[in-house]
Point group: C2
Chain length 321, copies 2
């Protein structure tokens, strides 16, 4: 099915596709989940529920030459949970729709994928509460996750304010670097185990997201399509600009991978300057890695810089080569 | 991708696959949704939430030669909502994961599917609260639905009792008959518009399910894989038998289609004899079609009959063909 590439609909960018779908659905019904990482649903008689759906498709998001079926299951659940992390939500359950190629189906792929889902489920204490299995032309796993903010308020993308401080919860680019070394002709490079694991077994930053929410974060987004692109999405949603003075690069990764590599699932946390000390303290108390301060929010939406250089949403690759 | 057939994993039956997945997931985590039509999740700080996921795959569940992309979207949402109907739940939201073949993708298929989703969403007052779109090898729509029972208790499959009366909410087989006439060589038959619509635009019996729950139904299941098969699933879950004395056949459908045709989405309602009058009365008051009494629950799980003839779970085609 071709080599893995970012999960965008061919012909249209992911953001363009979502805009058009929003217009289609906009006719009398709501689609808040198409704007944020996850949607907040008010359940009658209950509290707000944070919900999101995410898919992993063989040949688009993953290559079974580089990942086991269990890796695919793990990545699918973690990718969906990362959207909850970006809202500061705690997972309460997941539903898994699995489509398995008829040619491959002796049960091994199905059970392999579900093994990986089960491992990620145990790792995150997120029970799998529903599922559906179909035959089909290509391996696809769609995971819906449900979460709560337990009396608090989910952190959106759209509420970053000028003067806020921008953090990222950890260095970026390890997953993209892992994909690079896994795809290199064998013998070219020694495959670094930790980089390969970053690609095959990424982790949703659930505790980091909850801690940032409790510390009063104004806006968050998870780095699923690259720090460069996802930071622009947050800035677009908030109608603000930003100036970065640092990009934390994972060991073994390049700056381009740190800015453009998806599936790191680190969180971008935007927080008021008065809450920065409290945020750092809460991270220490929770036993989390120290978040890295990478810049500040600016009032002009047109001002988007890394140091002295303009940082475009999709053109960063060319600018930074 | 071959002709449409019931959505089972090749090599293993759907029920066998789900049993194996349950064992995989059983290692320390729950998977109640793999047993019932939908799962009930207790949300901290909120009431119970009823959740389910269902997929429609081109070539497995639908054929784009017989359905438009909008029909596929409609069928996907209605199929998922039917699982809520079978629990007596009222929908509060849906999440849609869409995978569209790269070859077909100029945006028209994506938008067509979402149009059909939007139509079904308006019809059922179930807002679409989240979505995900990917390229991929085959058209697939996975829909997760969330619902509530507003202070009540969801109706399971497993609580039918000997002596209970079995109803079905309407005549069966129209969807299968619609598929038959749509697949006939053109000129062979005049395509009956209402049968074709039954196949292309089925309806989840949400009001019927809520009414049956409020009337005290002990157990329910939706007819998604055929009355013959789904009734056995309910009886297996409840460890009971049944004797049917009637099978309501839709206008234009055959008895085999009524027993084996999936996607009618009528509900099988099992209710105590003392609650039958109240149930019928509530249906009248709610403006619903009168449910049809089709039989009774028997204590011996081995006794499963239609009149004087044994009714096997998969062998009905041969017995009745």
């Amino acid at each position: 099915m071709g080599s893995p590439k970012p999960g965008r609909t061919p012909g249209l960018s992911e953001d363009q596709t979502l805009q058009r779908i929003r217009r289609t659905l906009g006719n009398g019904i709501e689609a808040p989940g198409l704007r944020d990482d996850a949607a907040v649903v008010d359940v009658p008689g209950g509290g707000p529920l944070v919900v999101s759906v995410d898919s992993v498709v063989e040949g688009v998001h993953v290559d079974l030459g580089l990942c086991s079926p269990a890796d695919v299951g793990w990545k699918a659940l973690m990718g969906a949970l990362s959207d909850l992390a970006a809202m500061g939500a705690k997972p309460v359950g997941a539903l898994v729709a699995l489509c398995v190629p008829e040619s491959a189906e002796d049960g091994a792929v199905t059970l392999g994928v579900m093994e990986g889902v089960a491992e990620a489920s145990r790792e995150t204490a997120c029970p799998v509460v529903g599922g559906d299995v179909s035959g089909g032309g290509v391996l696809m796993v769609a995971v819906t996750v449900l979460g709560t903010v337990e009396g608090g308020t989910a952190v959106p993308r759209h509420a970053a304010r000028a003067g806020d401080v921008i953090f990222v919860t950890g260095p970026c680019g390890a997953s993209a670097a892992g994909l690079r070394v896994l795809r290199a002709p064998s013998g070219d490079v020694t495959v670094d185990g930790s980089l390969a694991a970053a690609y095959r077994r990424p982790r949703a930053r659930l505790a980091d997201g909850e801690t940032a929410r409790q510390a009063g974060a104004h806006a968050m987004i998870d780095v699923s399509d690259g720090l460069g692109l996802d930071l622009h999405r947050l800035a677009d949603a908030s109608a603000v600009g930003f100036v970065l003075d640092a990009v934390p690069v994972a060991e073994g990764a390049t700056l381009a991978e740190a800015l453009g590599g998806g599936e790191d699932y680190e969180l971008v946390v935007v927080i008021g300057p008065g809450d920065v000390d409290g945020y750092r303290k809460r991270c220490v108390e929770a036993g989390l890695r120290a978040p890295a301060r990478i810049g500040v929010v600016r009032p002009d939406p047109a001002e988007r810089r890394l140091g002295g250089e303009e940082l475009g949403p999709l053109g960063w690759q060319h600018a930074l080569g």
